[in-house]
Symmetry: C2
Subunit: 301 residues, 2 copies
């Protein structure tokens, strides 16, 4: 498989994800709520989490419809977290994915409600009513497992907990252990959940499951290290969001802690750990997961 094959695969997957999101994020939700939700989640972002879910499902021969629902649910959680994170009481950011942030475009209260409704929608997407086609049915046990994985990644032990540490750490020195704990929760938990939710759509043994957890943790951390690198090396228009804001906010980052070159090297070490985990998993087709690990550390935005 080549990078060109990967790009073609990813394009196909993302068309399916966009189609599903467009179908499931309701244009007709009342009083402009649907408009704000669609603005927040459609046509934007790298879609790394959906690709991780679908690549993991590919690796385990997972159910297609379940994995598409998992992919869209994790993206909804990610997108809602950005909406709330950008609000004035949090990061107070005005630019996201190259567009005005949701609260700038629609107001603060609609932004908060849109985020709240997007979190609920993620769990609606994972618990569909009986489908017209039996092929699209998702076993109840899988629905429950996907809900559990997503809720734990989004909540106090995962993303929301990491954001709380992040808030409390502004202007305070964090050592590498604390910084790693914060990112493990704030971005790592949902990236790992993307992988594990995709993996849950198939049947794999405990050893393969553990190996994929290591893969998910490693690329989750690598993603954040590269985020810190890009925050100081790229311009806002390249990133599609405000560059340099962590430095401006005096937030601890991997770059401030270990320097630019060491941070880059660390990201590549984590990528190598992820690749080793894939080899250990002995799963039949981990090529997309492997290429995604490369993309995570080689990205420029």
């Amino acid at each position: 498989m080549t990078v060109a094959d990967f790009d073609a695969w990813a394009r196909t997957q993302l068309v399916a994800v966009e189609d599903c999101l467009s179908l499931w994020v309701p244009a007709d939700a009342p009083a402009g709520l649907g408009t704000a939700m669609r603005y927040a989640v459609l046509d934007g972002g790298k879609r790394l989490r959906p690709l991780l879910a679908l690549a993991a499902a590919h690796a385990v021969g997972g159910r297609r419809m379940a994995s598409l629902r998992a992919a869209c649910a994790v993206e909804l959680i990610h997108a809602y977290s950005l909406v709330h994170d950008d609000m004035p009481c949090m990061d107070n950011d005005v630019l996201r994915r190259g567009k005005p942030t949701v609260h700038v475009q629609f107001g603060e209260a609609p932004a908060m409600l849109a985020g709240d409704a997007m979190q609920a929608l993620a769990f609606e997407v994972l618990t569909p009513d009986s489908p017209a086609h039996p092929d699209e049915a998702i076993p109840a046990a899988l629905q429950a497992r996907l809900c559990g994985l997503l809720a734990r990644a989004a909540g106090h032990a995962g993303m929301a907990g990491g954001q709380a540490i992040d808030l409390a750490s502004v202007g305070r020195p964090l050592d590498e252990h604390s910084l790693r704990d914060m990112h493990h929760r704030k971005t790592g938990a949902l990236l790992r959940a993307s992988v594990m939710m995709g993996a849950a759509c198939g049947d794999i043994d405990a050893a393969a499951w553990s190996a994929l957890e290591v893969y998910g943790d490693s690329i989750g951390l690598a993603f954040q290290v590269i985020d810190d690198v890009l925050d100081v090396t790229q311009e806002s228009d390249q990133l599609g969001k405000t560059a340099g804001k962590d430095v401006d906010a005096n937030k601890p980052t991997y770059v401030s802690l270990m320097g630019l070159d060491a941070a880059r090297r660390h990201a590549f070490e984590l990528r190598d750990q992820a690749q080793s985990a894939l080899t250990r998993s002995a799963l039949r087709d981990t090529v997309w997961l492997s290429l995604l690990a490369d993309k995570v550390v080689e990205r420029d935005r």
Copy 2:
């Protein structure tokens, strides 16, 4: 059964609910997040939604542990919605359940995060890991069904959608149909879901299910009509929240639409509809549901 019997039953249920919430809302969530979550949900409120869930589970002979989880999950969603609703960008309220609101006590960003984490926690509570005691196990199909009912009640078609209509309606005249639609979503959806999640913990036929839906819709609306009545007839210290704020905000209410006496009469008609639905359900023991319907319209706070 007497009102005294009901009070004893309710006290017993609420001790169990408080014990579970205290166990499941983590004191040790990082950076003060757990403290804010516990402040928002423990030791406060009428606990109407948990009681509805447990009374419905009683009526259908439902599984105990599942119904306790359902009861706590709906209360977590309710409590998170109050935290977000009280924030400056929404109702900007400083008093709730007789205490300073969460953002007054902890700050806006921690309040938003605590609300977000509480929504996720509701779905964590509904999807427990395998329990130590088999008695406490909840079938995966029931977990998935409870998640689906709760997500739809909390999201764009339910509570969040109703809040969006509410926001957009300040200072604008709403006719009774529009006001009913708003409340049907904003408060009605979660009250109805409380009943239906309790009912889902047992096995009932479609006719009984439909009758309970009518019961849930009727008391949901009655609850809101009485809320509007209390907003103009009671003082803040009696309500434990700011009285008169709907009038001050020029929000449409049942009282502004139909007058105080007609609003009261309407609430009692809705209570009677709820009681008729219970009779039609032919369920074996609807006494607690029946007495809860009375409590909803006879309450003074």
